[in-house]
């Protein structure tokens, strides 16, 4: 009995598309990539009345032009016929403007229906919308809807069913009539044979030709003979541009809405909250306060998972003892305790962060605050080639880089997302901030404040340089444009859908990240393991052997191995140092330090006796700007979906941290 149908969700940003997607699919969703592209592909499924439905959440954009990969993917997916029906969402409270997507869609061959979402908001604004009148003009099912209202879903299923059985097609006659007034349209239209580009009507293609759509023009060149294409190009010269066809689309929308919408006119003004956010004086402070408050709030839902992480870690000793007592070989015991248990402890602590940050960021996005953040930081972040929203992952990274990487998912452009994560790595995390003041005050006393300032300054410089280096590859010049964005009205969140989304993302992160963390932790363990129990192991041997080289960077082998350990987790760096200078073996020091223990009581004496000031300075810089930790690496891979870029970022940070250590050491030698 189980037939299945595929639904594609199409709508502008803030049309409530994600809310609908999350409400329909809940935990049954999956995020991947569109084949060969760096655009995220969100899919999910649900069943209703014994029928199985697949849902594809198409990337949100304001139109279906060729401005971005997202838009081209969206329209090609619809035209390919892979979806049995397209569900188009419009915002009832801004109906005229948000129907632009429908007008831009018109002419793509696919059954569809229209949801007039946020019907409740429109009602509150005193707007009355006659959905039936609109339905008659469009020829497809049209229903008032509210994605946040559970009771509204009956209407959704009913409209879905009607659209599927009728294979409802949009009536484009009136729209085509509007286009007739555009100079050159008729001629271009008549030159394009039916089916020139599969799935698109000649009308749709002609409009895109007039709009100077590069992708359509290229395909058309291959689809028609050279002479016809020449004539099309000639006719295009007479035509205006997107402004004129856009005018036609809005004229058609006005015609469709006609008497179907009545509204009371209201004077617009900013609400109290928006007056603060958009204030020149208070805006930035208000945003930073909001994000910090959100971060603190995100710890509350994160705590249980982090607790699980700590409990797992406590199992290390008993499990180790138990395994030894039943005569298990030492190597196996160590792999179980130091690799597997250790990794899962990391992973659960990380999931706590991912859960908290995804929940809070998702909430800020859904409520509408994220758009205000983008607005406030647009100018500042624009200088780095980023969106205003990128400020959030940066702020989160002061606490935890993996939280920052997980938070970068609110950035909808892949290149900007990767660049944001790459820059967020330069922000020293909480564990680094615990280590920097401690080491600095041991070596430099009150001068520690100078070191901390230098670290902050280096961070800004690092971010700026990194933006220059990676920016040109990730965010192309022609893709750097100023903000043109809607500031949506504030919405009440839909908690169930939001939790469903957060659980889904956390589950997926768990599956993906486990592999990476186990692999990297395992690798480090193998490299540090010494079968004799004493000093030995591959890393130790390499560290000692290349000491002449690392000394050049200001690091004797003990400091260099601590630096290597800091790539796994910065909280371990001090533990490794104190163990090594106390004559402990590297293998043991490494695993102990990772469990969080192991700072010697006489730390300052041993350090002062063994390490010179320039060396200490070099180590502080090397450790701070090294790869943040294994889980940050895993989170980066999870969010970018790119092993290549993750590896590139790791390599880059390793090289830069060594260069910074080199500079710090040699500056130190000049001073002391």
């Amino acid at each position: 009995m189980s037939q299945s149908a595929t639904i594609a969700l199409l709508g502008q940003p803030n049309s409530g598309k994600s809310t609908l997607f999350n409400a329909l699919t809940g935990l049954r969703q999956h995020v991947g990539n569109w084949p060969g592209k760096t655009v995220e592909k969100k899919e999910g499924s649900f069943s209703h009345a014994g029928k199985e439905y697949l849902v594809a959440d198409l990337p949100g954009s304001y139109s279906l032009s060729a401005n971005s990969d997202e838009e081209v993917i969206t329209r090609d997916y619809i035209a390919s016929g892979k979806a049995d029906v397209v569900c188009i969402l419009a915002d009832s409270s801004q109906l005229q403007r948000s129907l632009y997507m429908l007008a831009d869609f018109a002419g793509i061959d696919a059954p569809c229906f229209l949801l007039l979402n946020m019907a409740d908001v429109a009602k509150d604004q005193g707007k009355q919308i006659d959905a039936e009148a609109i339905e008659q003009k469009l020829g497809i099912p049209v229903i008032p809807f509210s994605a946040t209202d559970t009771k509204a879903y009956g209407g959704f299923y009913e409209a879905l069913d009607r659209a599927l059985t009728k294979k409802a097609r949009l009536n484009v006659e009136a729209l085509s009539g509007q286009y007739d007034s555009v100079k050159g349209f008729r001629e271009i239209c008549s030159l394009i044979p039916e089916g020139a580009i599969a799935g698109y009507s000649p009308m749709w293609i002609a409009v895109k030709v007039i709009e100077n759509d590069k992708v359509v023009l290229d395909r058309l060149r291959n689809a028609v003979d050279a002479e016809t294409f020449g004539r099309i190009e000639q006719a295009k010269k007479d035509a205006q541009s997107a402004v004129e066809t856009g005018g036609c689309k809005f004229a058609w929308i006005d015609e469709v809405l006609g008497s179907a919408v009545t509204k009371e006119s209201k004077k617009v003004s900013l609400g109290r909250l928006d007056r603060i956010y958009t204030s020149r004086v208070w805006g930035k402070a208000a945003v930073i306060f909001t994000v910090l408050f959100g971060l603190i709030a995100s710890f509350i839902p994160a705590l249980p998972l982090m607790g699980v992480g700590s409990v797992i870690l406590m199992a290390k000793a008993p499990v180790g003892n138990a395994l030894t007592s039943i005569g298990c070989p030492e190597v196996i015991t160590l792999i179980v305790t130091d690799v597997i248990i250790q990794s899962f402890s990391y992973i659960f602590k990380m999931l706590g962060f991912v859960f908290g940050v995804t929940l809070v960021f998702g909430l800020l996005e859904e409520v509408g605050i994220m758009a205000r953040i983008s607005y406030v930081f647009d100018n500042t972040m624009g200088k780095l080639g980023l969106q205003g929203k990128s400020v959030m992952p940066f702020l989160v990274s002061f606490g935890c880089t993996m939280g920052g990487a997980a938070g970068a998912r609110v950035i909808d452009n892949w290149g900007q997302k990767v660049l944001t994560i790459a820059l967020a790595w330069a922000v020293p995390c909480g564990a680094a901030w615990a280590t920097i003041p401690m080491l600095s005050s041991i070596f430099f006393g009150p001068g520690a404040i100078v070191v901390i300032t230098a670290i902050l300054f280096t961070m800004l410089l690092h971010m700026w340089v990194t933006a220059k280096i990676f920016g040109s590859r990730l965010v192309k010049k022609e893709e750097r444009y100023g903000m043109i964005m809607e500031l949506p009205p504030y919405h009440k969140p839909r908690w169930r859908a939001l939790f469903g989304y957060v659980m889904g993302r956390t589950k997926e992160t768990f599956i993906r990240v486990t592999k990476v963390v186990l692999m990297v932790c395992g690798l480090f363990w193998i490299l540090s393991y010494s079968p004799s129990g004493g000093n030995g192991g591959i890393l130790y041997r390499i560290g000692v052997a290349i000491e002449p080289v690392t000394k050049f960077f200001g690091m004797p082998w003990q400091l260099f191995l601590s630096y290597v350990a800091s790539a796994v987790g910065k909280e371990g760096a001090i533990g490794v140092i104190s163990a090594l200078y106390n004559g402990g073996s590297y293998g043991a020091a490494f695993t102990q330090a990772m469990s969080g223990g192991g700072t010697a009581a006489n730390l300052s004496e041993i350090l002062l006796a063994n390490v010179s000031r320039p060396e200490a300075l070099a180590f502080i810089f090397a450790m701070t700007f090294n790869m943040p930790c294994v889980v940050a690496l895993a989170a980066t891979y999870q969010e970018t979906h790119s092993a290549k870029w993750t590896a590139r970022i790791v390599l880059y940070y390793t090289v830069v941290s060594l260069l910074l250590a080199f500079a710090a050491y040699h500056i130190g030698l000049l001073i002391w």
Binding site: Q96, R97, S241, V243, F250, N379, I484, M485, E486
Partner: protein
Amino acid sequence: MSLSELKENKEGLVTNVQGDTRFMSRITSIGLTPGCRVTVIKNDKNRPMLVYSRDTMIALNRKECRGIMVEEVTA
């Protein structure tokens, strides 16, 4: 005059929009087309402009506003 020259709380009628293909299609898709009315809500230096048009609050980069020509409407 250009949209960015319009003062806060003033209303204007869009007369012309100019720019490259990408800009034209983006500005059209958010609803700023010739003939539509815009109200300037915020016009601070070094911040994107805030305008209200077609029931929508829109944030616009200042540089991009140069291509949008308006006529002031006196109510």
